[in-house]
Amino acid sequence: MDKVVRMSSDKGVVIFSKSSCCLSYAVQVLFQDLGVHPTVHEIDKDPECREIEKALMRLGCSTPVPAIFVGGKLIGSTNEVMSLHLSGSLVPLVKPFQANLC
């Protein structure tokens, strides 16, 4: 759990993913479209993959990947990101972390 907290408190957008997960890739593409460069942790390449998964689930994620954190705070999974974006709330959330502030 500590590791997860540490990894997720990176500044900006952090995505917990797996190298095989294409939905995580879709989320990455979306953030990139918004001018954000998310930090992606592919947990299947981490030796403590199982523990990380469990920790993410305990934090409230329905599926361990993709799990998206913005500014250290858990946003949720793909569903939550999509809902936020369509309601117009995602952009203000990531604005401080956009690569080009224009």
Binding site: S20, L23, L30, D33, L34, T78, M82, S83, L86, G88
Partner: protein, 368 residues
């Protein structure tokens, strides 16, 4: 007819439809044996043993087939070669008998096929009434139209049929009330029901995707024109906006801004999912293409390939979630009356696509 044991048979078609009148040949005693007017069964005539030629044709004597009326040459040869004539007559009888049997078998086949055809037509009618797409020349096995082996899919197809019926009813109702007068509260109820109806479809699709994701992705449960626009198992959310927007007369500045933002975010989300799907295709293709040459259908990492296919279910769910959210946001941005018009426009759009599919299918069947 003065020749001895021969007689002249008036020319007739080979012996199927007409009763046999071969009195002269076998003499008076056989008249009573001839069954006249019996078209369907071979006429039974018992041929007496004193006709030596017929003894050789034991088949004939035992069943007693009728002789074949046929063109008989009354040339001089007939009187000179009675045996030849007898032989010929017997052969003709035999040929006629076989012909009748063949015909009987063929007619029976036709009857069976006809019954089967009627059955199939009835099934097609039933399916069409329920709004399923059934094209011409359909091969039910390869297209998986009646997936009777998969109860989840069979249930979905039935539910979808009802869904379309209810959809049509709701569209009708919206059309009526928008032409007349209806207070906002009642209109809001109608709009909310219409929204719930779409959400119900997404729920149904989620269950169906668990049962058979390829079925949902193929869009076979939809009509052909709808399938043309298919994106991850349904309509594109951005298309939805394109259909709705022209119908809104006056939008406030705030509404215009909101709609603009929704269009953009919807497109971005759609693009992200599309790229995710493409990556899925690439990784699956790599997975299937991997391995040594000459290993036939063996997939070295078949489990990994299966996992990729599992991911399709998530994509279908995400796509439906996007559709859900798009509808939800439109409802939030618009007034009740505007939302009602939008839902009517959307419903009628799909009705027209379905009608187009029917026209297209019928067009194919017309003789060119």
């Amino acid at each position: 007819m003065n020749s001895t044991s021969t007689h002249f048979v008036p020319p007739r078609r080979v012996g199927i439809y007409e009763p046999v009148h071969q009195f002269g040949m076998w003499g008076e005693s056989f008249k009573s044996n001839i069954s006249n007017g019996n078209m369907n069964t071979p006429n039974h005539i018992i041929i007496p043993n004193n006709q030596k030629l017929d003894n050789n044709l034991s088949e004939d004597t035992s069943h007693g087939t009728a002789g074949t009326p046929h063109m008989f040459d009354q040339e001089a040869s007939t009187s000179r070669h009675p045996d030849k004539i007898q032989r010929r007559l017997a052969q003709n009888r035999e040929a006629a008998r076989k012909s009748r049997l063949r015909k009987k078998a063929y007619v029976q086949q036709l009857e069976t096929s006809r019954l089967k055809l009627i059955q199939l037509e009835q099934e097609l009618d039933r399916a069409r009434q329920q709004g399923f797409y059934v094209g011409s020349g359909i091969d039910t096995n390869s297209l998986g139209f009646s997936e009777t082996m998969n109860p989840g899919i069979a249930a979905f197809e039935m539910e979808y049929g009802h869904w379309v019926e209810e959809q049509n009813r709701q569209i009708c109702e919206l059309r009526t009330v928008l032409h007349g007068h209806i207070n906002d509260i009642e209109l809001r109820l109608l709009v909310e029901n219409a929204m719930k109806h779409y959400f119900e479809l997404f729920r149904m699709k989620s269950s169906a995707a668990k049962a058979d994701v390829f079925f949902v992705m193929s869009g076979m449960w939809r009509t052909s024109a709808e399938r043309f626009f298919l994106w991850i198992g349904g309509f594109r959310p951005s298309d939805l906006l394109k259909v709705l927007l022209p119908h809104f007369d006056i939008l406030t500045d705030q509404q215009l801004l909101d709609v603009c933002n929704l269009k953009q975010s919807c497109q971005q989300a759609e693009d992200a999912l599309t790229q995710g799907m493409e990556k899925l295709q690439h990784t699956l293709a790599d997975c299937v293409a991997a391995g040594q040459l000459g290993e036939g259908s063996y997939i070295p990492q078949v489990n990994s390939a299966m996992e990729r296919l599992e991911a399709l279910v998530s994509f279908v769910n995400q796509a439906d979630h996007l559709r859900h959210e798009t509808l939800q946001q439109m409802y939030r941005i618009l007034t009740t009356r505007q939302a009602a018009r939008g839902l009517l426009a959307l419903g009628e759009y799909f009705q027209r696509l379905r009608a187009l599919s029917s026209s297209w299918a019928t067009r194919h069947r017309e003789p060119t």
